[in-house]
Symmetry: C2
Subunit: 329 residues, 2 copies
DNA sequence: ACTCAAAATGTAATCGATTACGAAATGATG
DNA sequence: CATCATTTCGTAATCGATTACATTTTGAGT
């Protein structure tokens, strides 16, 4: 219930002075500043940010949209994002889509109703069309995807290179017929990795066979289905690359439960580098992405945009390093 | 930039009428309502919620604080919470503590500065003292913990019963010397489960030995240390119960890597029922908690409190059912 | 056509902070 | 002590919506 007005009265100053103290405006005399601060403490006064936000036309809030939280991959990105938001003095609302496209609108409305100042889309949470309509009006950052020229800052790893390295590793071990379980959507990360996969194969003198590539969601049934779809074509698969740790763990599970006719000793490399790859048996060789940093950097880039309210902010691409970590598969 | 004032001008009505249309107040004549709606669509007008929130003294926002997001356990609770927030028309800010006590204050400040209307603490994210100071001033819900008489609604499973059932299952299989890797803090859920463990032992004529119980965080090093601490006492452990799936997965990992001197065939039961228990090899027998529902119900309870602004809202305890799911361990 | 209650709309205050602008206090200087 | 530049502070407008209250319009009834 307490307000600047009451603080002002109790401190025998005007509301303006109280406000100045709150925003430590250097023009207020030291003695009155102390007096006001004392009253503030006495009354246990906290400014009403609803009022402040209205007057300043800024909520100091940003939004990050993730496809889902159940995948530790996204959880780790979210962790980095939260840390950055805190560091830069912003509130962050982290929302998940859970495969329901229309939920996106509720988050976009946070921008349109002035509750949020900027937005980060992680992975393929937003399609190109939506992005196009937003990019002109609001500061937008894409995390883990890279759509050049779309007018949003993109923060990701070099997916093509990563796909190349994963494939090279399997080739180095002598695998020749490598299946690729890709992501569910035709996002830039999915396509980029496949590009790298293709390049490594060709470089090794192996023909790229699209029949060995199948998209899949992050659930057991889907992965099993996709894998068996490829196996059913009879190309004698001896290696597998998956778009995520989770998919790889489901492949191992499928093998163990005799739902996927492969040996557990097959060459298997996944992307992400979450703890999942460490707790499976066998543990999984992965391309480790700097997930925390991806989240952190995305927020940082967004904050930069918000602060240079001019379109001065870098609209470009930020590429973070990845790393191939060899484990048991 | 558009505001009610501009809409009013374009529609030849007053701001009051526009506002009434926005809140579909039935007193406005159908024809003017349509006219206003048309102008709104034309101008692509969206109300500024910063202004609305200030005037209404309500942000329609709640906060949920989790210890961390990296554990799928919490991610699933968060998922349920988000769904409920959406269903009941609230915004939700989900924050994690990441073991840093002081971060809590930033979330509590959302309440104190009117940015949020109520708060949910999951697991042991808030200590009793903090809760005491908040419960009088704000609507609070505790999720997965149960502190009777604290003035907050508590939503959880029956931890004592669950601990009892887990222990009974191992006893049924003939295990007699059962170690208990508990949670890190002395929270009600941790203590409740140990109560059940104790009760089942006594019922089976086995003396409760506190030396077989050790707390541990959710990381590999800590779990290994705790487990080996117990094993070092030479009680011939033949069964283990852990507070979380993650801990259990780390025990399996420790065994596999020969860091924990136990057989993989040991009796092992954990709590939670996340997908982790399904992707390990062997898969883990767990007490499955209704995580999504715990999150959903917590938000629902909070919303009830917010709507009955009287202290009419049920201050009690909501107990959700758990289930023992037998897998390979 | 007149009355008057009901229906529809408008005027202006309000939420609680920030801030442009102007006024007052201060104090150094001649 | 008068002057005037600096400091310091206060008044009132403002952000954009909601809403109490006042006012006008409408239309049924006579």
């Amino acid at each position: 219930m307490s307000s600047v007005k009451e603080v002002a009265k109790r401190a025998n100053v005007s509301v303006a002075t109280v406000s100045r103290v709150l925003n430590n405006d250097p023009v207020v005399k030291q003695s009155t500043k102390e007096k006001v601060l004392e009253v503030i403490k006495e009354m246990n006064y906290k400014p009403n940010l609803l009022a402040k936000n209205l007057r300043k036309q800024a909520s100091k809030t940003i939004v990050m949209v993730l496809p889902a939280m159940s995948n530790p991959y996204f959880a780790e990105i979210a962790r980095g994002a939260q840390a950055a938001a805190y560091d830069f003095g912003y509130h962050i609302i982290i929302g998940t889509m859970e495969s329901k496209r229309w939920i996106l609108d509720t988050y976009v409305n946070l921008l349109k109703t002035n509750l949020a100042e900027g937005m980060i889309f992680v992975s393929s949470s937003a399609d190109r069309e939506l992005l196009q309509t937003l990019v002109g009006d609001y500061p937008i950052v894409l995390c883990t995807e890279n759509y050049p020229g779309i007018g949003a800052t993109c923060v990701s790893i070099d997916n093509k290179q990563a796909g190349y390295e994963a494939t090279r590793e399997l080739l180095r071990r002598g695998h020749r017929s490598i299946a690729y379980i890709a992501g569910n959507r035709q996002s830039s990360s999915v396509l980029g990795r496949i590009e790298g996969y293709k390049e490594a194969l060709i470089e090794a003198g192996i023909e790229y066979n699209p029949e060995l590539v199948a998209g899949s969601k992050n659930n057991f049934e889907n992965v099993t289905e996709a894998m068996n779809g490829i196996l059913g074509k009879g190309f004698g698969i001896d290696g597998v690359i998956t778009h995520s740790d989770l998919q790889a763990s489901y492949i191992l599970k499928g093998i163990k439960e005799n739902l996927i006719p492969l040996e557990a000793s097959i060459g298997l490399i996944s992307f992400d580098g979450t703890f999942i790859a460490e707790i499976t048996n066998p543990s999984i060789t992965t391309i480790v992405q700097p997930l925390y940093d991806l989240g952190y950097t995305s927020v940082h880039q967004l904050v930069l945009k918000l602060q240079n309210d001019l379109a001065e902010a870098p609209q470009g691409v930020v590429i973070l390093p990845h790393e191939l970590v060899i484990r048991e598969t």
